[in-house]
Point group: C2
Chain length 159, copies 2
C-alpha cells in the first residue's frame, strides 16, 4: 500500500474544512476556517467549564470523576498551540464573523501572558477538581479570572 492509497478516506474530512467557507463571500477561506476553528475551541472550553461551573454553583451534583475528566480535558485543551487559529487578517477589523480585537495581533506578549494564566488556572483546576467540591470551587476563581481577563483585553463585547 502506498502512502497515498487511503487519501480518498480523507476527502470527507477535508470537505468539512471547505464547507466552512461556504456562505462567507469575499473572505479568504483560510481566514474563515481559522475563525471557525478558534470558535470551536472556545466552545470546547465552555463545554468543560459548564460542567465545572455548574457543580461549583450547585446546579449540577458534584461528581468527582466527571469533575476530574472535565478539568483534565480543560487543561489538555489549553495546552494546544493556538497560533494557527489567529491568522493575520482575521480580527474584527478585517471580517465581521469574529469578536477578536486587533490587540490580539498587536500585543503578542500580552496574549502569551494571558495564555500562561489560562494554563496555570486549568492546571490548578485539574489538581483540585477531583478532590472535592470545595477544592473545585476554590480553583474556579483563578479560572474565571483567566477567562475574563483575556476576553476583556482581546474580545469585543457582544452586540
Amino acid at each position: 500500500m502506498t502512502p497515498m492509497t487511503k487519501m480518498p478516506l480523507l476527502s470527507a474530512v477535508l470537505g468539512m474544512v471547505a464547507t466552512v467557507a461556504i456562505g462567507a463571500n469575499h473572505v479568504d477561506p483560510a481566514v474563515t476556517a481559522a475563525i471557525k476553528a478558534r470558535q470551536s475551541h472556545m466552545q470546547l472550553l465552555a463545554f468543560n467549564l459548564g460542567t465545572l461551573g455548574g457543580m461549583a454553583q450547585g446546579k449540577i451534583e458534584y461528581d468527582a470523576e466527571k469533575a476530574q475528566v472535565a478539568a483534565s480535558n480543560l487543561a489538555t485543551l489549553s495546552s494546544v498551540d493556538f497560533s494557527p487559529y489567529f491568522v493575520v487578517g482575521s480580527s474584527n477589523a478585517d471580517v465581521s464573523e469574529t469578536r477578536a480585537l486587533p490587540a490580539m495581533w498587536e500585543v503578542p506578549e500580552g496574549v502569551l501572558a494571558a495564555l500562561a494564566q489560562l494554563q496555570a488556572a486549568t492546571a490548578g483546576m485539574a489538581d483540585s477538581a477531583g478532590g472535592g467540591l470545595e477544592g473545585l470551587q476554590a480553583a474556579m476563581s483563578p479560572l474565571g479570572g483567566a477567562c475574563g481577563a483575556c476576553h476583556q483585553a482581546y474580545r469585543a463585547p457582544a452586540n
Copy 2:
C-alpha cells in the same frame, strides 16, 4: 476574595453553552451541548488535518514548523477524554442533529479500539510531520485509515 467572587465572569462563558440549546426544542439541553461539543472537536481535528492533508497533496506548500504544530495539536486533541461528548440519548436514533450511530454506545470496546488507532496514528504523525514532506505523507495513510474506520463504523453517511 471568596472563591465565588469571580463567578459573574463565568456567566458569559456558561451562556455560550446554554445558547447551544436554543432552537433545539424538545431535546435535553445536555444532549444538545454534548453534540455541539463533539462536532466542535471534530471540526478541530479537521482543521489540523486540513493543513497536513493540504501539504501531503501539494495544495499547501510544505512548512516544517506549521506541519509540526498541526500534528502536535492533532495528537493533543486526540488525547482528550471523549466520554462527556457521548451522553446517553445522543445517537441519531434519539435526535436528528447528529450522525452518531447507536453502535457508538453498543460496542464500547470497538470505540476504544478506534480511539487507540487514532491516538497511534496522530502520535505517528507528530513524530514525522516536522521532519520532511515524505514522512508527513507516509504518516497520512494510517491517519486517514483511523478517521475512515471510525466514521464507517460509528457515523451514518451524509444525507
